[in-house]
């Protein structure tokens, strides 16, 4: 694997390998000194053209726990504002000697374009509404481990609720869940589903979404094991996607009343950051099956696994597990 750009590029085997490697990383994280020298002398640059604290910090923590040098580039303070082209920025940083770029950008496909501009490895940390593969990996890791199902989600029924249309999390995580054998139902008003799922004239076989669709959260609650809530962005009502945040919360938010309809051992997931009172109307700390904090913890392990498999000698099997973990 040279880059991690899209979940579409990963086979089931590769996905499972990363999950297993994340188990090892997770062990390292539990140590009193959670740091290994595996990526010493490697440089990982995070290039964030869009605001994100948690994902950037998660990647940087992962890189540091593997002893990589890190540098951070955030658009707000950067030469992007001085009119330097993106391509020039990437070429300039590459010239400083970067082994991997972790990139987030508002435009879908930008990480792929970057592979033309640099020889470094590219990790997509979110491109527009397209992909966010490490989120998908950490979601798959979190859920498989919580359900103690090994590297499988065979037969697990998952409702993903919210703004699927604009969600890179949905585009990546659905793919991971489905690859592992889960049955996914997307729950949203039609306006927040990808257009190809609501207009019957837009038929094409190569871009199928192997999912079920529902417009009524109440109807699916009794039939799922996992509820995955997506963040509802307030701006959406300006472009007429929803009437109001309140109306959305009323019909698609997870309220105590709705929670009562779920099986008592259901699992709750959310990629963060949460809009309390919108998509989530319960205190997740009081939900026994909430995996939201574990998603964050596991995010570091998964990103360690990704960086290690892209940059580490593990990729070429030059080093044993013991050597990596020294």
């Amino acid at each position: 694997m040279k880059h991690l750009l899209s979940m579409d590029d990963l086979s089931l085997g590769e996905l499972q390998q990363l999950l297993s490697l994340a188990d090892e990383m997770s062990e390292i994280q539990k140590r009193s000194q959670p740091k290994v020298p595996a990526l010493r002398h490697k440089t990982v640059a995070s290039l964030f053209f869009e605001d994100s604290t948690r994902t950037r910090l998660s990647f940087e923590t992962a890189a540091k726990r593997l002893s990589a040098d890190t540098m951070t580039f955030s658009a707000a303070s950067s030469s992007v504002n001085k009119g330097e082209s993106l391509r020039d920025t990437v070429e300039t940083l590459s010239a400083m000697g970067v082994d991997a770029f972790v990139v987030r950008h508002k435009t879908a496909g930008l990480p792929l374009a970057m592979t033309q501009w640099t020889d470094a490895h590219i990790v997509n940390a979110g491109d527009g509404a397209h992909q966010h593969p490490t989120q998908a990996l950490l979601d798959a890791f979190t859920l498989t481990r919580a359900l103690e199902m090994g590297n499988s989600l065979a037969g697990v029924r998952i409702a993903m609720v919210g703004d699927i249309r604009h969600s890179r999390v949905a585009r990546s995580t659905v793919r991971a869940f489905v690859l592992l054998g889960a049955q996914v139902t997307l729950v949203a008003p039609a306006s927040l589903l990808p257009p190809s799922l609501i207009y019957s004239n837009a038929t094409h076989t190569s871009h199928e979404w192997p999912v079920s669709i529902s417009h009524h959260l109440d109807e699916v609650l009794g039939e799922v094991d996992v509820v995955y809530l997506l963040r509802m962005q307030h701006e959406r009502m300006n472009a007429a996607f929803i009437s109001s945040v309140g109306e959305y919360a009323l019909h698609f938010g997870l309220t105590p009343k709705r929670m009562a309809k779920l099986p008592h051992n259901f699992k709750l997931m959310h990629p963060g950051p949460m809009n309390h009172g919108v998509e989530i109307g319960v205190d997740p700390a009081l939900v026994p099956g909430s995996l939201i904090t574990q998603q964050v913890t596991n995010g570091v392990s998964i990103r360690m696994a990704v960086l290690l498999s892209l940059l580490g000698p593990a990729a070429t099997s030059e080093m044993t597990k013991e050597e990596r973990n020294v």
């Binding site: 993106l86 435009t107 496909g109 509404a129 397209h130 990808p194 257009p195 871009h207």
Partner: protein, 437 residues
Amino acid sequence: MSSNKSVLITGGTVVNASGEVLADVMIDQGVVQEVGPNIAAKYAAESEGGPQRIDATSCVITSAFVDLHTHLREPGREESETIETGSRAAVLGGYGAVVAMPNTEPAQDSVAVVEFVRMQGERAGLVDVVPSACITVNRAGLQLGPFHSLTQNGVTLYTDDGNGVQDPVIMRRAMEYAKELNITLMQHCEVSRLTEGAVMHEGCCSSHLGLPGWPSIAEVLMLQRDLELVRETGAKMHFLHLSTARSVELIRQAKNEGLPVTAEVTPHHFSLTDEKLTGFNTVFKVNPPLRTMEDVEALRTGMQDGTIDAIATDHAPHAAHLKDQDLLAAPPGMLGLQSALGVALKYSGCSVQRVIDLMSWAPARIAGLTARQGNAVAAGNIANLVVFNPAAEWEQSLEQIVSKSHNTPYLGLPLQGQVQYVVRDGKVILEAGVITK
């Protein structure tokens, strides 16, 4: 501009609207003097002071092409194209005239800018550069352009291309002027509220890629509105770069009802689909966007059955640093002049004669250029001609491109039909694929 030297084109097939015939063509004083089989024998050899001879064996001889839709970028964006470089690309594509779109900087919304473009075209002297003008001031859709002044200065085509005219009041008033002045409005059909931020066709690909979509309905709604306004006002209207299957249906219906409308399609819309965007390559970002195979097939049928009148390139050069951005930031548009014939003959499913109609005779009529362009190859007509080999297969390479920009979508795709000679006012300005002027 007539040339002193006479020209004799031998061994080719003359294709006119009335039919085709194997014939030689004798040109003198800028005018076709004689067309007929084996007339070459009457003239002395070139070496003995006879006419310049052009061997058109296995080629078609017909009127030079007319492009209704060319972005020459001058004034204002000379790093992407100039009137001179765009004219060179046009000659290589077999064109005798191009309509210069008015989205320049400043826009072609005044007599001064329009005259500048015309003058630069004459200075380059390679094709007739026919300036169109804006419908509204600076194409902003708010204030009508100076139709009377511009019409007095010879402008017959008006468009805000790049923007559709959103306001129905403005559009209705513009049509009232169009009717009164006997000019043609050319609409870019796009309800902009439905396409905010859009970079590609809204459909399965965009849904999968997470890219903001440009739905077909945004074109269809404006087209429908304008057809009703044409019905009411009787103004002549030309529809630019139609891209959807439903648009073809609507035009077909409007023509059956006798409305004074014409329509064009671009080579890229009938040869490429939205699947091209799966690699996120900004070369394939264009407005309106590449659509689905179903749309492509409807456009082809429309071209074949006469619903669509013209192939227009929407030649839209963008300098490398502009296209070398992310998909949201990169400007839409692709080159077209040098590849149009090759795409048309390879992908339209039309006969050679029909392609010539779409690329020369019909657009010359729509643009009101028949005094100089789009006429039969016949004695007495001005010799603005193209000679091309309709069977020659070729591939476009970057080295062939003479535009200042290189954003062609056709690298590596098979094309068919190669331009060999262009005759302008009786003078050979393209010889065996090389500009001689």
